[in-house]
């Protein structure tokens, strides 16, 4: 009857109704039901499912859109300068005669690639630093927190702009710099969550068994913040897309001849009243991307959260 700490993310702890000891069903089925539970909860969340569909369509568009393109994104059609959308140029052209459809496909590819790389990088880095700082405590914790707090005060967006501007718009450098300036927010959240994880008895138990520290971090701590990491990853994609497009819009990010959604919007912005399609198409693609990803993250949060009240509704 002592109060039990609320599990961070333990789907089965919330509903203890899962058969205590009624023991005939095969273990495989047991595991399946766990995933079934997640997917059932997720599928019930209609916006989240819509998010998945939109996101899948966008990815398909980025990957296969170029097969349908009549022009290459660097090719210039001098007969069609600043043309509105037409059967020839589906999304219209810009003032140099670039086909906007082809550019949006390439821009979306670029934006997605950067976003995924950054999200993976941030998630891994933040998970390692956050959990290790919490588990080891002492000097490791102090140093990590000092770095994190220092970066929080540092004008990261400015550094980001300076460094990526200097790189001449190489997307790999931009991705790397984006990872460097965005991991620490997540690392701090993970650190606070891991602090309570550190005090969980199964972590103590592992330590008293003599399990080495690094193995405890990898085998006990990180798996138990798994759902947080999944959510962080999806939100990290949103954040990275926004940061990258913001930079590219200002001209500090991806530079011509390479294009990203941000730089396309930047070009579109200058002729927003005379050629609004140049703004509208990349902007629509970008918004769909961020919103769909956010809907997915939201759905995951509900599905993976044992305390979510939405889960209680059959």
């Amino acid at each position: 009857m002592t109060s039990r700490p609320i599990p961070l993310n333990d789907p089965d702890a919330g509903d203890d109704t899962t058969t205590p000891g009624s023991g005939h069903d095969a273990p495989e089925r047991k595991r399946l039901t766990k995933w079934q539970l997640y997917s059932r909860r997720f599928a019930r969340n209609r916006p989240a499912v819509a998010g998945v569909v939109i996101f899948a369509l966008l990815v398909a568009f980025a990957l296969f859109g170029s097969f349908f393109a009549k022009y290459d994104h660097v090719e210039l059609d001098f007969l069609a300068l600043s043309d509105p959308p037409s059967p020839e140029h589906w999304f219209g052209t810009n003032n140099s005669g670039n086909d906007l459809y082809a550019m949006v496909v390439v821009g979306l590819q670029r934006s997605l690639l950067i976003a995924v790389v950054v999200a993976v990088g941030t998630t891994v880095l933040s998970a390692l630093v956050g959990t290790a700082a919490a588990y080891f405590g002492g000097r490791v914790e102090r140093v990590s927190l000092f770095v994190i707090h220092f970066l929080m005060v540092a004008p990261t967006f400015l550094l980001l702009a300076m460094m990526s501007n200097d790189s001449g718009g190489d997307w790999k450098v931009i991705a790397l710099v984006l990872i460097l300036v965005s991991w620490f927010f997540q690392a701090r959240t993970i650190w606070t969550m891991s602090l309570s994880l550190r005090e969980r008895e199964f972590v103590h138990a592992a330590r008293y068994m003599g399990v080495p520290g690094l193995r405890i971090v990898l085998r006990h701590m990180i798996p138990n913040i798994g759902s947080l990491l999944v959510i962080n990853f999806t939100l990290g994609v949103v954040g990275a897309v926004m940061a990258e497009t913001g930079l590219s819009f200002l001209g500090f990010g991806v530079k011509l001849p390479d294009v990203s959604l941000g730089s396309l919007i930047g070009i579109g912005a200058s002729s927003i009243s005379s050629a609004p399609w140049l703004f509208a198409f990349p902007a629509a693609a970008l918004t769909l991307l961020t919103v769909s990803m956010a809907l997915i993250a939201d759905g995951l949060r509900d599905a993976l959260d044992p305390t979510s009240a939405a889960g209680g509704r059959a």
């Binding site: 009857m1 002592t2 899962t18 205590p20 539970l37 199964f202 138990a205 399990v211």
Partner: protein, 684 residues
């Protein structure tokens, strides 16, 4: 009998859930009369708390409630929130389980009492309301109420906060007080104070009391009538003496048989109830206890038995088709529950002096620095959590440390598990001093010999690992060959009474008692000599607790283990331990053989502790002498020059001034018969 204050008829409550509709309460009926106390007993999930919340109208909106609840002549079900709010806190008051969270942290206690007063009497002047708040605080025994009324909840201890909650409950002279496990979160000495206080509140207001609890001792202490709940239904209902003297329903019998008794010397094994309560989803029309019942018959599964009068007594009712065959917990001349066998230990015949020590602790001390200031932390003092504790544990023996929260018992245990080197003392495990450990490898080797079992069976198993991986982890850590791990895990699971075929499931698929067995299997994996047990059964329901205690007893005998056992529950300690130490504010106040200490407690603190535990026997409970300690544990930051117990000691009050001075200035040492029974009191 007068008309009851509260009359509940055929109450049903159900909630929607992922697995289907959960029928938490399935047709419960009872009456509570003014000035009487109804005890509702049951284990977790029996529907007892849901029943009380249904009466208060405080259930979630998604709950569907049926039946009838009549209070003071009015039907409560179907009333709107606004209508109910006129009754709540006015006619019916409620005391919740956890005093630490039931007061709003950002308002003073005075504000919160005044709010309870003014919400029902809008005309009451501010002045008068505050005066009444101070008066109420005095009534519930808060010292210096005039000042304390302006304190915030976090400035009070748990017991004090529960007093404030009771003051709020008494504020409007309610006709019915519902107390939902009001003492579960509190220490025994505080529990005794609070139970007394609730009785006082009942006398002052003449209210009817509904006492919800899982503790048969508390029921025996306070209740006039008892209702036993199981799987959402009342399964036995009787006046308290009748229920304890002539128990009819097998579940109630099991519940009583499963409790270790602090007042009984002989060590017969406890009688556990096997299995776990059923899920309250799609229950078949059968006795819900049938699967766990030792005297089940095919008819039990034909239909759910109704609650009917038994033994020709109008006020004793039970829901069992064999109730008439059962008399006073026995059937056909034998006990309803077969008494399990516990194997004898090979050490039983060996005198204590001849056994090897597995753990020797000498002058163990732990202090935490007390810092001040947010930016520049400077040390302003030290808090001694443990002060010079010495003891040893020998082969095949159970040493228990008992104490209330804040006594330092868990810190002692963690110091040992941390292998913390001592400045002016030593910790030796199976002969190896922790001060001699130089490499991580040596440390890991020593860890094979000492393993730990934690309190919370949920928290101590990694939810992301299968049971196999959980039990295999210590084996992998000590480098057991991969091919040997599988058979060893199966062997261990079998040893603790689990089916090895279930080892690829996740811990969440097991019940609390089974999870604790998994934790024990893990602890035994490396064949340790010493197992440290940190409150291993306090998170379990009593029926399950008995099974785990028996298992520990059995393993000790079979494997020749030593246990270092830390607990706050003296009944469990009496049952399981060979040696016991009573800890108060970081020091042992009494230490010796378990029967010596329990049968002849010498230190005033031990005496108070023992007398504060309610025993599950209403007749004895009424005649026993209860020493109710005043006040709380002093703060560990207070400087104490003499005996730490002076501030609460009943003996000290009776001494003459010269003797009192000695208590205040001189730290008492442990004296008495060395190794058999010592205590730290100048005058005992």
């Amino acid at each position: 009998m007068t008309t009851p204050v509260l009359s509940v008829r055929d109450l049903t409550v159900s909630f929607p859930s992922e697995a289907g509709r959960v029928d938490a309460v399935r047709g419960v009926s009872f009456d509570v009369a003014a000035g009487r106390t109804l005890g509702i007993v049951g284990e977790s999930g029996s529907g007892k708390s849901v029943t009380s919340l249904a009466v208060m109208g405080l259930l979630d909106e998604n709950a569907s409630i049926g039946g009838s609840v009549t209070f003071d002549g009015q039907e409560l079900l179907g009333k709107s929130d606004a209508q109910m709010s006129k009754i709540r806190g006015n006619g019916i008051a409620m005391i919740f389980q956890d005093p630490l969270t039931s007061l709003t942290p950002v308002f003073t206690v005075g504000d919160q009492i005044v709010e309870a007063l003014t919400v029902h009497n809008p005309k009451l002047s501010k002045r008068a309301a505050w005066d009444r708040a101070v008066e109420l605080l005095r009534l519930v025994g808060i010292p210096r109420p005039q000042e304390r009324v302006r304190s915030f909840p976090h400035e009070f201890s748990g017991g004090m906060r529960q007093r404030v909650v009771i003051a709020i409950a008494m504020a409007n002279d309610p006709k019915l007080i519902i107390a939902d496990e009001p003492t579960t979160a509190l220490d025994v000495t505080i529990q005794a104070q609070i139970l007394d206080l609730i009785k006082t509140a009942q006398r002052e207001t003449g209210a009817a009391v509904m006492m919800i609890t899982h503790d048969m001792g508390v029921v025996a202490n306070v209740a006039d009538d008892v209702l036993v709940m199981y799987a959402g239904r009342a399964i036995e209902q009787a006046p308290v003496d009748e229920l304890f003297a002539d128990t009819r329903m097998p579940y109630s019998i099991g519940l009583l048989g499963a409790i270790p008794r602090v007042d009984k010397t002989e060590k017969t094994p406890l009688v556990p109830i096997t299995g776990a309560p059923p899920l309250l989803v799609d229950l078949p029309d059968a006795c819900p206890f049938a699967d766990r019942c030792p005297i089940v018959t095919p008819e039990c599964r034909a239909a759910e038995p109704a609650l009917v009068t038994v033994g020709g007594k109008a006020d004793h009712r039970a829901a069992c088709i064999r109730a008439e065959e059962i008399r006073a917990g026995r059937i056909d001349g034998g006990p309803v529950y077969p008494v399990p066998e516990v194997p004898a230990s090979r050490f039983d015949e060996v005198p204590r002096d001849l056994r090897e020590p597995t753990l020797e602790v000498e002058n163990l001390t732990k202090s935490f620095p007390l810092t001040k200031g947010a930016f520049l932390k400077r040390k302003v003092g030290e808090v001694h959590a443990v002060k010079g504790v010495s003891f040893d544990v020998r082969e095949g023996e159970t040493m228990a440390i008992v104490g209330e929260s804040g006594s330092g018992k868990t810190t002692t245990l963690l110091q040992i598990m941390d292998f913390a080197p001592q400045d002016d003392g030593d910790v030796r495990i199976v002969g190896t001093s922790v001060a001699d450990l130089k490499h991580a490898r040596e440390e890991r080797a020593l860890r094979r010999d000492v393993q730990i079992v934690f309190q919370d069976p949920m928290g101590s198993l990694d939810p992301r690992m299968t049971v196999f991986d959980v039990v295999a982890e210590p084996l992998r850590t000590v480098g057991t060959a991969a091919k040997d791990i599988g058979p060893r895990v199966d062997e261990l699971l079998d040893l603790v009474g689990l089916d090895p075929a279930h080892s690829d499931r996740f811990p969440a698929a097991f019940s609390g008692g089974q999870r604790q067995r998994i934790g024990i299997a893990r602890a035994l994996a490396t064949n340790p000599k010493l197992v440290v047990l940190d409150e291993p059964v306090s998170a379990l329901d009593v029926s399950v607790q008995a099974g785990v205690i028996n298992l520990l007893d059995e393993l000790k005998g079979r494997l020749g283990l030593s246990y270092l056992f830390v607990a706050h529950d003296l009944s469990v300690v009496r049952h399981i331990a060979d040696r016991v130490a009573v800890m108060y504010l970081g020091s042992f106040v009494e230490h010796g053989d378990v029967d010596e200490v329990f049968d002849d407690p010498q230190h005033p603190y031990t005496r108070a502790l023992l007398s504060a535990i309610p025993v599950p026997d209403p007749v004895r409970e009424r005649t026993r002498e209860h020493i109710v300690l005043t006040g709380d544990l002093p703060s560990p930051t207070d400087t104490i020059t003499g005996c730490a117990f002076v501030s609460r000691c009943p003996l000290y009050q009776t001494l003459d001034p010269a003797e009192q001075t000695r208590c205040e200035t001189e730290v008492p040492a442990l004296t008495g018969r060395d190794g058999v029974h010592v205590n730290a009191c100048h005058y005992r």
